[in-house]
């Protein structure tokens, strides 16, 4: 059975599902759509994510945003206030805990209780469903900065209902990006359908004059993901969202570390997303970009971590991304203290501001852009082809056949046949093509790049190269050279 389609969910169908969704946990009963829309309309402009993004896009500046979430409401408010005031954050998150992400609300409840008992957060995020609409509103009221929900939830329908009604004005995730990197056993049809619900709900708010920002999750597994893969996912999720009526979309990409490749990636990401949206008849979507500082393993040393954070900031500024998601000097160790989190932000702010007036124009930039364009088009067009014109259906088939293949993804539905590795300049290339639908020209390009590195390192290309690259940044390098 594979009867999924990229079609707007009809109202009656949506309402029927909605009734079930709101019953998944008692707090669902408090969601009142009309009242929520009024609440959003009454929000001052500086608390609205989409407005701040559009403004930044127009001014050509890069906003900064942390990740953060703890179990209890007061502690979470304290944390976010600190990041806003002492971290100079332009945008705020609310990271959701891992039980909520798996819809294990009972365990989340348990975590809340344990956290109260132990006097420290025993959850790795904010259990928004358990805290309910009124809990969320307390956050919105306490802060002077727009808030976004950041998570990793395959079935996020109830979470969306509650956080939207709670006043959040931006929402991360998507049917591919919050499945393959974040789940093990969830079929693609299911997450695409559940995320169509999220997008449709966003569309309903939009139709009532409340523009909530939606952000497909760019970095996927954060581990050596080639731009063409995450770009394909971002574009597809943008198309799926637009079909449900979403009008404000931020597409994302996780830093690879090679400056030219990263700048090329962000520029092409915005360009191609617009191109595919328009080609498919979605002409009134505002597209912005988000650059994620290095998402793979970090060095344990904090001074070195600052180096990694800064290089991500520099690249974000030079790529002119609309916003950058910031790491902290505690990254390798664990969830950061609020002080460490604010340090990552301030370090980022300094670099971003120093580079605000500079542009990157490398001689091979156009070449790199063209390569990412071609690769991404190969994948997205193949997805359309597999779905006989329907991108939802095509995506399910593409994942199944390894046309869309995410390195190191935990999902058993992911092919895992493609293997990435860095080339001799540190750009991420593809060592093992798997079933990527590339032209012979593209394949040759990748093989040549990897061969060049293998030659320089006097070894043959193998999985050992991939392992060395996985560890490299945490050990202080970009390219995982053979140990000597």
């Amino acid at each position: 059975m594979n009867n999924i389609q990229n079609k707007r969910i009809p109202d009656d169908e949506f309402n029927a599902i909605r009734e079930e969704v709101l019953k998944q946990w008692p707090t669902g009963a408090d969601v009142d759509l009309n009242e929520a829309i009024e609440f959003h309309k009454a929000l001052p402009e500086h608390k609205v994510f989409s407005k701040k993004l559009v403004d930044a896009k127009n001014k050509g500046i890069t906003l900064i945003q942390p990740r953060a979430g703890v179990a209890l409401i007061n502690a979470h408010i304290e944390l976010l206030t600190y990041l806003q005031d002492k971290g100079e954050a332009d945008l705020l998150p609310t990271t959701i805990d891992s039980y909520t992400r798996q819809n294990r609300y009972q365990e989340a409840e348990n975590g809340i209780r344990e956290s109260m008992k132990e006097g420290r957060s025993m959850l790795n995020g904010f259990p928004a469903v358990n805290h309910g609409v009124s809990g969320c509103r307390r956050l919105i009221e306490a802060l002077n900065t727009p808030l976004q929900v950041r998570h990793g939830t395959p079935d996020a329908r109830l979470l969306t209902e509650i956080t939207y009604a709670g006043g959040f004005t931006s929402y991360e995730g998507g049917g591919i990006s919050y499945n393959l990197p974040y789940a093990k056993n969830v079929p693609m049809e299911k997450t695409i359908r559940d995320w169509q619900y999220v997008d449709r709900l966003t569309g309903i708010y939009e139709e009532h004059g409340v523009s909530i920002n939606r952000e497909p999750y760019g970095p996927l597994t954060g581990t050596l993901v080639p731009a063409c893969i995450s770009h394909a996912v971002a574009i597809i999720e943008a198309l799926l969202a637009a079909e449900q009526g979403v009008k404000n979309i931020t597409v994302g990409y996780g830093q690879c570390g090679n400056l030219v490749q990263d700048v090329a990636a962000i520029r092409v990401l915005e360009e191609l997303t617009n191109e595919y949206l328009e080609k498919n008849g979605y002409n009134d979507v505002c597209v912005t970009t988000v650059f994620h500082q290095w998402m793979g393993g970090f060095p344990a040393d904090e001074a070195k971590a600052f180096g990694v954070i800064s290089w991500g900031s520099a690249t974000a500024a030079l790529s002119k991304a609309t916003k950058v998601i910031v790491k902290t000097p505690h990254e390798a160790a664990g969830v950061p203290t609020m002080e460490a989190n604010a340090e990552g932000l301030r370090c980022t702010k300094q670099v971003i501001s120093m580079l605000a007036d500079q542009v990157c124009t490398a001689s091979n930039l156009e070449e790199e852009k063209e390569m990412i364009r071609k690769e991404t088009r190969c994948i997205v067009d193949k997805c359309f082809e597999l779905g006989e014109g329907d991108i939802a259906d095509g995506t399910v088939k593409a994942v199944m056949s390894g046309v869309l293949d995410i390195p190191f993804a935990p999902s058993r539905f992911n092919a895992g046949k493609m293997l990435p590795a860095r080339d001799n300049d540190g750009a991420i290339r593809i060592l093992e093509m798997g079933h990527l639908p590339f032209t012979e020209e593209i394949k040759q390009f990748h093989r040549a790049k990897i061969a060049e590195r293998a030659k320089a390192e006097k070894r043959s290309a193998s999985f050992q190269m991939v392992i060395d690259d996985v560890y490299a940044i945490s050990k202080g390098r970009l390219v995982g050279r053979p140990r000597t």
Partner: protein, 138 residues
């Protein structure tokens, strides 16, 4: 000499797959028979796999911070299932935030783990400990 059998996996609702895949590779290379349960593994799955394969050790990974909740009671359940004394390791980022690891180690020791490993421990170290604890000669 006969190969020792290890059961490895990432406990709870944790989906961090990279370290797990690399550990599988490293332990296999080092001559172990490795049963890899992947991510999102429950305590029951660890125990059943260890019984079925007559394993010598269970190596629990937890990266996402909620490991302390997920690991509670594992030793007791092992005992109940007839796996008394089986070697139990835990590693990764096993608690939330940057904490003094001596303290953390004590808490996990009290929970019945023979050894716990701080963030970013390289596979060589794990393998050395396994060799020692499982009395493997070079």
């Amino acid at each position: 000499m006969e190969k020792k059998t290890l059961v490895i996996g990432v406990i709870g609702a944790d989906v961090h797959a990279v370290g797990n895949q690399i550990l599988y590779h490293a332990f296999t290379d080092a001559g172990f028979n490795v049963i890899n349960l992947g991510v999102m593994v429950s305590q029951e799955e660890f125990i059943n796999a260890a019984i079925e394969t007559n394993a010598d050790a269970i190596l629990v990974s937890s990266l996402y911070g909620q490991g302390e909740l997920d690991c509670r009671g594992l030793r007791e359940k092992c005992d109940e299932a007839g796996l008394e004394g089986i070697l139990l390791y835990v590693g990764g980022n096993i608690v939330i935030g940057k904490q003094d690891f001596n303290e953390v180690e004590k808490r996990f020791k009290a929970m019945g783990f023979d050894r716990s490993f701080p963030p970013g421990t390289p596979p060589e170290v794990d393998i050395d400990c396994l060799r020692k604890d499982l009395h493997i000669e070079d």
